[in-house]
Amino acid sequence: MKKYVLKRLLMAVATLLFVLFILFCLMELMPGSPFNNPELTPEQRASIEAKYGLDQPFWTRYVNYIANMLRGDFGVSYNIQQNMPISDLLAKRFPVTVRIGLQAVALGVTLGLLLGVVAGFNHRRAADSITSAVAILGVSLPSFAFALLLAYFVGFQWKLLPFLYSTKQPFLSSLLPSLTLAVSPMASVARYTRSEIIDVLGQNYITLARTKGVGRAALTVRHVLRNVLTGVITVIAPSIVNVLTGSLVVEKAFSVPGIGGLLITAIQENDYNVTFTLAFIYCALYILVMLTVDVLYGLIDPRIRVAKGE
């Protein structure tokens, strides 16, 4: 197991370096400059760029960036928050996004399991079709549609929850964004749970338990859910990533001071350092999540562990 984890970590580092390299190349190809006030003369722009070391050759900048990164210096932002160190820029925003993301996943998994259980146990009956349709709708409708719906009805008309994120009520105002983001993981978890339950319910050992007289509730918890939960972990992994990307939309709609919309703005404004750092963070998170899921899965399901020797 340890060797496996080590190997994966090494792969992760290689991947991250590769990613940064590709990013550097792509940013080279992108036209424009971070300093685009049209009234600047070309000479003034060149002098500003020189001040930030943007006139140095490609490899120098790449190596410098990696070296600085290892020291914890991610550079400064060029035009989003000019001269602000990126670590400061992200320090305040990152926890907000992470918190809303985690809440979303937690909500999504819980609701998804509930829906999936209801659907699975009522296979081929009305409850199944309805809950399945709800789940699939959750995947079909774009998140900004949900954002607007929730903000308008729950926040504005019925005044149940605040629809603007506010640092004065961090928990309450994070609920609507989390709910919006939770729809997608909820849908995938629900669908997966449903099919797994249908599968498991058809198995012999369940029939055996029923004939032995085990009650419905005990049946669910002890036999069915345990088998299902292991698989749910694999479904959660891509959901976490979706939550990261979905946060773009949600943060714009609810005015959340997170890192969601920052990446797009950074790419469009040619703010190189912010782009590299954010892309790096996203990749690192993604790889970490995948690795954790794989390890957890291996720990829980002994069959996988054996097969890992492959």
Binding site: M30, P31, G32, S33, P34, F35, N36, N37, P38, E39, L40, T41, P42, Q44, S47, I48, K51, V76, N79, I80, Q81, Q82, N83, M84, D88, L89, K92, R93, L148, A151, Y152, G155, F156, K159, F163, L164, Y165, S166, T167, K168, Q169, L172, K252, A253, F254, S255, V256, P257, G261, Q268, E269, N270
Partner: protein, 534 residues
Amino acid sequence: MSKWKSVVLVAAMLAALLLSPFAQAEGEKVVRLTQNVELDTLDISNTGDGYATSMMALLLDSLFRLDENNVPQPALCESYTVSDDGLTYTFTLRDSKWSNGEPVTAADFVYSWKRTCNPANGFENAFLFNYVPIKNLAEISAGEADPDTLGVTAVDDKTLVLELTTPCNWLLEFLCGCYFGPMNQEFVESCGDQYALSSDTLLTCGAFKLEGWTAGDLTWTITKNEDYWAADTVNVDAIEYQVIKDTQTGIMAYESGTADYVILSSDLVDMYRDNEAFYTAPTTYSWYIVPNFQVPELQNVNLRYAIGFAIDREALVNNILADGSLAKYDCNYSDVFFGSDGTEFNSVRPDFWKSDKEAAAAYWETAKEELGVDSLELDFTIEDTESAQNVAAFIQSEIETACPGLTINLKVMPKAQRLDDMENGNFELGLHRTGSSVPNVLAKLGQYTTGHNLNYAFCSFPEYDELYNATLVETDPEVVWNNCLDLEEMAQRNAVAIPVYRTADCLLIRPSLSGYFHHLVGVSWDFMNVDIAE
């Protein structure tokens, strides 16, 4: 029974939790403003954002302040004298303090101006100084002189002397902008690169104070500065700012009472057009179609006329934008330039451009003959913002229906890339926006001369250049005025830029607010004397 009691208790606690933040300190007057971008920096040498400058005007006093009639009123400058030849100004400052207790001195102004215009610092607002003929400024900008030789000196703590090379009758208006405010040298230098990135690294001396802000925050508050010399004219205790990026969220905030000032997009104008809170104010930002003269077909003037005449500008601003935008038919700014007798430049300027589809079709036929083609395809480079895309779709449709055979291909890209492409001549037709940081009609007309760095059309008309250069050295204001009218007429006739429309700000402002005003140039929104009726 106890189960119900605990339920009630929990419910009560929840209610208290939910409702408590909505309670406000009794008797406090707070105005809540919103904007749709964060503040990136409050360094006056670097900030170009309209919102940042509006807020800086509240935090930082300058020599003068534009009142609601656009007349400069003394602010930090208590009084001033001008020499007979109009080249030397002497400003006497009043007593004022920085937020750290130190007094504001003339030396602070000297330091601030030298810092901004120094090309070695690479500050974005350096270009603004190009419009004020301060002694030695041209040499400093070109890197030929030491910034210390700038023609501004602090004779003593309260006296500032400014030396010009030519008389400048817009000087006082220009000095109203916060870009020419003071900076405490010791403090600024001690902050280094971090200056103005948070409220801890910023000194203020204006009507309000700032605490607890870091660049990029989405909410912050400024509170009344009781030590301000005109504190009795400040009617509110605090102003809260909130960044709301989505217009509809902004409207919901307004309707639910959590915001008093929100931006309205042209899509939603219909909801509020007849509402008391609806406010529309034209800006100086104007959109033009810029033809790239390096494209052979576009050198044909009839083709350019065809494009320009085909667009029904009234339909655009009345039906599609409907947010107070105005149709534009000239190559200059409106409501900004005034003659010595008070006439506004655009009220007497020559009228060449019209919206006339039949004339457009005729010009197109002529162009086809002259170019020897039956059809033509042109690329139209635009930004990816929503308004630009709507306008471009409209323009494309208008041109294609009025001039059959002429096809317009839209090329959408982020703003930075569009500016880059246009600067490098890498486009055919471009949709370009210009704003007026320039207080001088001649300076704007200069942008159409050969080789000017803002001449994105890459056009060259020797006659035009000649007249322009002659006017630059002309001293008789009558002659200058008439020459400018001639230049404007030439610019229109040569179709160096095809005007489309002039944007307007469209807002919802709570009717209980008063005492604020809007300027076309400089600080766009002045909230210093805002008051809120109970």
